[in-house]
């Protein structure tokens, strides 16, 4: 038997027709009114069928729209995921690039003592050759000999001092570079570590006459990730150099460390540069936010700083600034970095 949604209505109409025939016999006056009633009922049934179809169509459209919505939601989520991955990749690349800059900075820094040592050694070699020639000729005077001794003394002192300086730079750099690349956890003296990091930045600071003063309790020992700290400081210094001191203005930067209590470290990095407007200040930590788009700004330096302070050091960072009032970054983080989960 064929399924009929409106079987009951159709049966009612058939019954009404039968009733109409009876009515024609017993009450002929009522027939036309009755037929109009049956017609109205029939039309109403047809309208009901149409409304059901309209309603079904709407339901189907809703279903399609929901599917489409779900599909687009998935698409948007996938796109967001790709974007996050791309951002992460760019941030990693930026970190590597800053490691490259560190290497270049230290190479430049070591160049000076090594250069001095080489020229001293060469001067000493010349003096030695001259004395040897005189000695071969048996013509060494007392004066020649004492002049040679003076030269040898001066140059060996310089060679030694500069080689020691180079060795010290290499040791410091090695530590910073290894920390940066390996992200190993260890105990370290904060003041010393800040100084070692600043050494690699000297080539950027010195030519323009900028200085960084450091005020740090000498015995403050941290247990955590020195590489992270070094990266943070390097990025803060580079950010200040890029933005704070335009037109050859000579800048002062200061790193001040204090302990609000024995478990926490507050590190304030400030510059006396041109500062920034509130609109930019509010956005400095946003990824890809830069006022120097197309002029070498990636918009990632301070975003990385923020990530590292919050993510790696489990601390917080705030920034205060106003036009011509300089800029201050205040980092607050535990002296002993909590274990990563």
């Amino acid at each position: 038997m064929k399924f009929n949604l409106f079987a009951a209505e159709e049966q009612a109409i058939e019954k009404a027709r039968a009733l109409g025939e009876t009515l024609a016999v017993v009450a002929p006056d009522c027939v036309s009114d009755f037929e109009a009633l049956v017609d109205a009922f029939q039309r109403s049934t047809r309208e009901q069928r149409r409304l059901v179809r309209v309603s079904d169509r709407l339901q189907a459209q809703l279903g399609t729209a929901n599917q489409e919505l779900e599909r687009r939601r998935l698409e948007a989520e996938t796109a967001l995921e790709h974007l996050r991955e791309a951002q992460e990749a760019i941030i990693q690349a930026e970190k590597l690039a800053s490691l490259g800059a560190l290497v270049a900075g230290v190479a430049h820094e070591i160049n000076t003592p090594v250069g001095i040592a080489v020229s001293c050694a060469s001067h000493l070699a010349d003096a030695t050759a001259r004395l040897k020639r005189l000695s071969d000729e048996g013509a060494v005077s007392r004066g020649d000999f004492s002049r040679y001794l003076a030269t040898a003394g001066d140059t060996t002192d310089l060679i030694l001092a500069n080689c020691q300086r180079a060795a010290q730079l290499i040791a410091g750099f090695k530590q910073v570079a290894v920390d940066r690349a390996s992200a190993e956890r260890r105990r370290f003296n904060l003041g010393t570590y800040i100084q070692e990091t600043l050494v690699s930045l000297q080539p950027k600071l010195r030519p323009l006459g900028h200085t960084v003063s450091v005020l740090c309790p000498p015995d403050l020992e941290l247990d955590g990730y020195p590489g992270v700290l070094s990266q943070i400081l390097a990025n803060l210094v580079m950010n200040a150099l890029t933005h704070a001191f335009p037109n050859g203005r000579v800048g002062l930067m200061a790193i001040e460390v204090e302990q609000p209590d024995s478990d926490w470290v507050r590190l304030r990095f400030s510059d006396n540069g041109q500062g920034m407007v509130e609109e930019n200040r509010a956005r400095v930590f946003e990824p890809f936010f830069t006022t120097r788009r197309g002029r070498g700004g990636s918009g990632l330096g301070l975003h990385i700083v923020h990530n590292l302070v919050v993510g790696a050091l489990k601390g917080s960072i705030t920034v205060e600034s106003a036009v011509d009032q300089g800029t201050r970054f205040v980092l607050l983080f535990p002296r002993q970095t909590p274990e990563r989960d």
Binding site: R43, R46, E47, R50, L51, R53, V54, R57, A60, Q61
Partner: protein
């Protein structure tokens, strides 16, 4: 009689009833929050227009892309009113617009025309995106 013009909104259709020209048109989408409030004044105007003795032809363009069940019942009521004047001899035509490829809308049009005997009913397909 003045024409009745109501601009379309997101939920209510555009109404363009040019009574002088005998041209009535509903277009856009129709799922008003309150059917009575929206369609009440439209029915009043339409009833007054159809009540005037006149034998000039009437053309009704149904160009709704999307309508809810209440609006469907509204359409059926309008069609019945038009059928009534057509039965008295006034030339009335109804054109049911649907977007090409929208089979179910075309079939609905056929369904809606099943009670129209005196009204000249036609289906008109238009390229999708062309009405609204």
């Amino acid at each position: 009689m003045d024409s009745l013009n109501i601009p379309a909104t997101g939920r209510t259709p555009g109404v363009t009833f040019d009574f002088a020209a005998g041209h009535l048109r509903l277009h856009g989408e129709s799922y008003p929050d309150d059917v009575a409030t929206f369609f009440g004044p439209i029915f009043t105007a339409l009833r007054a227009y159809l009540a005037e003795p006149d034998d000039r032809p009437i053309r009704f363009d149904m160009e709704l892309l999307y309508f809810n069940s209440s609006s469907a019942k509204v359409l059926m009521n309008i069609f019945q009113m038009l059928e009534a004047v057509a039965k008295l001899g006034r030339p009335v035509s109804v054109s049911w617009c649907y977007e090409e490829n929208d089979e179910s809308m075309r079939e609905l049009g056929e369904d809606f025309s099943e009670d129209l005997r005196y009204v000249a009913f036609s289906l008109r397909d238009v390229p999708s995106g062309a009405i609204g």
